[in-house]
Amino acid sequence: MAHPANVFSEDYRIGFKAQQVWSVPHALEFFLLGTGAGLYLFSTWFSPFALGQLVGELTVIAAGMSLMVDLGQPKRLWRTFANLGFSWISRGALSVFVFLAAALMGTAARWLNLFPSLPSFPLACEVIASLSALVTMLYPGLVLSSYASIPSWNSPMVPLLFFVYSWTTGLAAEWVILLFSGMINRLALSLESGFLLISFTLISLLTHLGGMARGSVAVKEGFRLLTRGSLSGWFIGGVLCAGLLLPLLIIGAALVNREINGLSLLISAILVLSGGFFFRYCILKAGIYPPLF
């Protein structure tokens, strides 16, 4: 009779432990936060249009709702501003609050001409909203990188990746809105710039992966999960291939042929958006605690 390989329950075995508490709701929240803030910035500074701003703001509100659903005590959401000195979640909550207040006021003031006697009011709101949008795009990565308990999160590349991905998915969201509102001629960035942004995202992600492959044992375990383990389908298939390489191929082909049709752009945008969600999900699930002893 074969000797049992595991005589103890996995729960009580000293070894690698994957973090379990943050999963789909947090991935969704981080995705919606970054995408909404990125969309707002594109719709405010690169190709101003009210619908883009509004959808960006609603997306960030949806992110907040996603977080509330996951909170154990949603009625105590207001308390999340209480630890601004240390907690990046507190700082992020404040940035989201300031963003929503300023962005909604700015959008209403500019497009509904609410305060004609204060011509610079919409601009002031947009500047404040944009600064807080930048923090909103960055802070989920800063939350993760502040956790020394999980070495694969505890890297300066993580905030950078979340920041870059926010721009990329924000741009893809803008493409979708422009396509559906029949304003494709108002692309915030040229297709060449979009191609470069997705390429930069891919390079940043590969750089992070390279760092993980050379990291500590727990980081390497996270790398194994992403590339050969249970997350490899989502990561290689969803994030790398479908989320970045395929859109690059579609847009690259359009650039070579000097024309792109709406359907190709829509497919690229949806692929980038879904890849952006899977990226957040995979990074969260690849958070591994090293063995205690």
């Binding site: 508490v21 501003f81 630890n83 240390f86 020394a148």
Partner: protein, 188 residues
């Protein structure tokens, strides 16, 4: 001001789980939540195989990552003895502390057990039996251990037994890479 802490002598632990059960009995923790689990590791191969036991609990870190991660400020350290506690009336259930703890010492109580003592949707953790400490008693896991492998005392007092053992037996901390300066040390 004292800094209460614990030294655990791994050479004495026989993995009987008495500390785990005593803790559950003392604190009435919900099903599935253990403040003081004993972990195991198989070492070597038959016939030289053996099992190492690692009793754990909240490390009541001097630089507690759960305190920094908590967005509501619900986690605080008692000034008089350095015990780290969660205020259930302030916790919003973000689980940030659960993810931030390198030792897996924080637990999220979903309320399914229906225990009124614990607020559903909040974080729970070992309190070093602060209710006993306030009465001059040692934590339940310490008094229950049949091999006396857990020693409790003031880490800041050089004359205390815990300080002496840490000095003489070259104590080690778990996850030193996390930089938490834990108040629970292990004697190899």
């Amino acid at each position: 001001m004292a800094r209460l802490g614990m030294v655990i002598d791994l050479a004495r632990c026989v993995g009987c789980d008495a500390c785990t059960v005593a803790c559950q009995t003392e604190n009435g923790t919900p099903a599935g939540i253990q403040y003081a689990p004993v972990f195991r590791k198989e070492v070597g191969k038959f016939p030289q195989a053996k099992v190492l036991f690692l009793p754990t609990l909240c490390m009541h870190c001097a630089d507690a990552p759960c305190m920094k991660a908590c967005p509501t400020g619900a986690i605080s350290k008692r000034e008089q003895d350095g015990i780290v506690l969660v205020d259930q009336d302030k916790c919003c259930g973000s689980k940030a502390c659960v993810a931030a703890c390198p030792y897996g010492a924080l637990h999220f109580y979903d309320g399914k057990s229906g225990l009124k003592k614990f607020t559903p949707g909040t974080a729970q953790k070992c309190t070093f039996c602060s209710h006993r400490v306030d009465r001059g008693l040692d934590p339940a896991c310490v008094v229950t251990c049949p091999t006396r492998c857990r020693i409790f005392g003031d880490l800041d007092d050089p004359q205390s037994e815990v300080s002496r053992l840490m000095r003489e037996r070259n104590s080690v901390a778990l996850r030193p890479d996390a930089g938490t300066d834990p108040s629970v040390r292990y004697l190899p």
